[in-house]
């Protein structure tokens, strides 16, 4: 039978760990809600942009723009990987990094030069350990990515794409579909391909309003709408990654807390048994002693 004191010590340390995981779970829950609100604000914006594109499309204009078309002779690709700065979030980083490595392999087969940029400490150390050179690393994105910061990155990509420094941009991140479902995905953001993900959205543009006036012209608006929707898409990737990270941490910490509960219950039982055994042993010794004195 194990030593009762050692068991008690173990039980105490597990209780402390449980406290920590429980707190982390609560923090992740609160952060998740905030991140979720921000993501839905961005969605409202995206919807309005989609409505605008729908109005443009309804004019019968050809939606073409340099950012929408792929290039004939691509030379350089760039992959941006979004991971978290902190660990203890289950398979979140592992899933993204596995996907990113596969995609990077593919890109380097297809393109003479393939660059890699990573956001998040976890991703940076992962690629450092594999001796993969990073073109750029970002550590400033936590649970609330700022649009301003993302925009700076987006502008750099747009400039690089316009001047022909890069010919393709992939973003590898965790897409948030619902609270129970987040998936690591790779999305090609440049060239954009299409302005609207779901063609049925186009039909829902404001109809029956009569003629809409375009100032200065529909073409000019298209010129602006394309880079804008790229930026918003990239921002959405960062937001999705942030939301998914919090969900992943929430789930991981929840199961850690449950596991700790289980361990505490088992240990308590063993401890009680050990203690009882010890007491019984001591009693027997006392009684044995008394018997011996009697004789």
């Amino acid at each position: 039978m194990a030593n009762a004191r050692a068991l008690d010590k173990r039980r105490k340390s597990i209780k402390n760990i449980r406290k920590i995981t429980r707190t982390m779970e609560l923090i992740a829950t609160a952060r998740f809600k905030q991140a979720m609100d921000r993501a839905s604000a961005a969605t409202a914006y995206t919807n309005r942009v989609t409505g605008l594109v729908a109005n443009l499309a309804n004019t019968g204009m050809q939606l073409s723009h340099p950012l929408l078309e792929s290039r004939d002779n691509p030379r350089t690709s760039l992959q941006l990987v979004l991971t978290s700065n902190r660990g203890l979030c289950g398979g979140y980083n592992g899933n993204v990094l596995r996907m990113a490595s596969d995609n990077q392999q593919q890109l380097s087969d297809e393109y003479p030069t393939s660059l890699l940029e990573v956001s998040g400490k976890r991703g940076v150390t992962y690629f450092e350990n594999r001796q993969t050179a990073l073109a750029e690393a970002f550590l400033q994105f936590e649970d609330k990515p700022k649009y301003e910061e993302v925009e700076r990155i987006a502008d750099r990509y747009l400039d690089a794409y316009a001047t022909g420094i890069i010919d393709r941009l992939d973003v590898c991140y965790t897409k948030f579909s619902s609270i129970a479902r987040q998936e690591a995905t790779v999305e090609t953001l440049l060239p954009l391909g299409t302005l609207v993900d779901d063609p049925s959205d186009l039909a829902t543009g404001s109809e029956g309003q009569g003629e809409i006036e375009f100032l200065p012209s529909a073409e000019s608006i298209l010129q602006e709408v394309v880079p804008m929707s790229f930026k918003v898409k990239l921002f959405k990737c960062f937001l999705d990654a942030a939301v998914s990270e919090q969900v992943a941490r929430m789930v991981a910490m929840k199961s850690a807390t449950e596991n700790a509960d289980e361990l505490i219950r088992e240990l308590s039982m063993t401890y009680n048994r050990a203690r009882q055994g010890q007491i019984t042993g001591e009693l027997l010794e006392v009684m044995g002693g008394v018997e011996a004195l009697k004789n």
């Binding site: 604000a41 961005a42 309005r48 443009l56 809409i212 006036e213 375009f214 000019s220 709408v225 930026k231």
Partner: protein
Amino acid sequence: MAANHLEEGVDVTSGARVLECVVVTPEETTLQTPAQFIALPLFDGEIGIAPGRAPMIGRLGFGEMRIREGNHVYRYYVDGGFVEVSGNLVSILTQRAIAAEHLDQAEIETALAAAQKKPANTPELLAIRERAVAQARGQQWVTRSLG
């Protein structure tokens, strides 16, 4: 969507026609207010929007947006984007909307100087530079009219 005292774009209390103005950025809905008049920097000059404006979509430039509601005037710097007028609803989609009093003169000066130093030896680089300069000048303009 419309404020409580608005009905079909008409202010119930005074009977005057009112616009419903929504300013949205990717991060948040910055401002949602009824308005009597809105002045916006379009891509090629300023536009004024009063109630009863025909439906339109306009491309915004970089500059000062003024929204008049009663005696109060909201003043913002808007950083490109679009304005969409349909009926009485005016939606302004912009990447950034900064209240005029939150702009920092010194920061703008350095941004302008940095923008002017950018290379401009190809058409693409020139376009990039011009955009950065226009942004800084737009902010400068808003702070000037503040002082």
